[in-house]
Amino acid sequence: MSVSAIGVSPPRPAASLRGLRLTGSLLGLAILSAAALRFGFRPAGWDTVWAALTAYDPDDAGHIVIRSMRLPRLAGAVLAGAALGISGALIQGMTRNPLADPGLLGINGGAALGVVICILGFGITDPAAFVWVALGGALAASVAVFLLGGGSGASPLRLVLAGAALSALILALTRALLLVSSQTLDIYRFWVLGGFDGIVPATLVALLPFLALGAGLAAVAAAGLNALLLGEDTARGLGVRTGLARATAGSAIVLLCGTTVAMAGPIAFAGLIVPHLARWAAGPDMRWTLAFSAVFGPLLLVAADLAGRLPLFGGNMQAGVMTALIGGPVLIWMVRRNGVRSL
């Protein structure tokens, strides 16, 4: 990235480094994505991958696997990764709590309860049909957390406490319901791990508008959150309407995270670790943190989904499990070398 010679502000080496890092990450994501299309249970060569994408033969089993199974799976991992990364960065910025993750607002719990009620009460067992109840549950629970936390005047601490309390309550309720029916448990226990192997293209398409809206709101909220990171009073002094900024960020979190849970189940850990990596790479500016989170999230989830298919992990490990297996050591390594920035 060239530095402008006529720029008013002096050239900042951090900026060019940032650009380099972002380009590198995108390149890494492209390589991982190609690998995600090629590797799996059924062996395929690069030529098959290319043919499946450019000259699709609906009778060729190899093409079907790449086009109808691995491609939606990859798209799901990329979308979910971006959504979780962005919402994680937003909630950590909003609450100024480096341990906050999107699950904290009751979103995962609400979605899980919705799914269990759906199986138990209505006998619906098709994961593709869970989407709308999961989304509804996530929205309902997060609205409840928001109201319990004090509405638009909610302080970050009250919000987090309300989220933790309500999440615990919802979890207890979910488990009580699961105890009643072993059949529900059986379906639920695969859903709750989170993963992309059952992703249906139609579901992805239906959920895209929610993700787009969430991403748009996140972009709008970024500037306000930058000011909020300086402290409530300073932000007000700068003329930022803090309540509005929080509400915008909150809506973005609920939309992004709720849609992800609906699509792939509650994927733990991604929303926690990705913002840390992003801040490490991007510096303190929220807008850059969001941009990096939107790339690092997919990197982590595509890698997790791909690693879950390796024989080393049994060949069919859910991505939601692999996220923590891969992300955990990375986070520990960052903490050890002081790579974790406080907020």
């Binding site: 799996g40 059924r42 696997v65 619906i124 009643v180 695969f190 059952g198 049994g314 069919n316």
Partner: protein
Amino acid sequence: MKLALFFPNARARLGACMLLAAAALAPAACAADAFPAVIEHRFGTTIVPAKPQRIVSLSYIGHDFLMALGEKPHALRKWFGDHPYGVWPWAQAALGDARPIVLQGQIDIERIAAMKPDLITGQWSGMSEREYALLSRIAPTIPPMAAHGSYGSPWQVMLRTLGTATGNAAKAEQIITRIEGRFATIRAAHPEWQGASAVMVSVPRTGAYSASDIRGQFLAALGFTVPEVENPFAPANAYYALLPDEDLSPIDTDALIWIDARGSAPRLKRLPLRPTLRAYREGREIYAGRLLSSALSHSSPLSLDAALDQLVPQLEAALDGDPGTPVSSMAEAGLLPEVR
């Protein structure tokens, strides 16, 4: 070997004889109702001192067997479904006006002790050796036979064992003779099935039942050969092989029976590789919905008749050699290929 597994009559009968003879109780008539009854199994030997009156059935399917013998369990363990007392339609008549206690979930030893049973039956219950030891202190307890895993006992073995334990040995033999006779009649009427391949595959996670599973045994009893599908993910499971959805070729048999107890037809409909199966293109798939798949999964003296009633016409339609003959269960589930 497979044959011996499926028709262990002679051996088992001989064994029972020898046991009884060794106990010097009823050396002449093996089928006679004799107490104390002595039953050898995977965890040792159980002696039932007298005809039991309060039977607690911990097997997910065992209450069907007891009721077939005319014994109404004091308590039974519900498997799945929302039928009264966890008893499926084919066994409701045998249940009559009995009101058994319904157990669910894990084996609750304290609760069982409070029932003061005089027999605890648990073939197909998954009970551990530790649970067996504890339960044995409450009442004589019957776990699976040594030759069969927790969920692999053929129905004849289960029925014969329960017959001996409840003093209904003669009745058990009678039932076995009748049902085996029905299988033999069907086999004789369908020479084209003999040696053809067939497999039962469960959805929502695509998994093939092996030849040693009771569903595989059912197909073998009709003369089919059940393919050995290797489980790429958990090679240890002898009953069930989870299949990667990226390769369904191991289950592309002459008759492919989809076992769906939980309404997963939508998933089956969009299973990407299904259209590449020959069985799909040639109309040799059968859809076993909730009732039929449960009847097959119970494989009890009461459910086998129901399963045969439903499945035999489907198999006839699937294997008539004409891809144009629709299999009615596939049509009803909306699973027929759209363009043939």
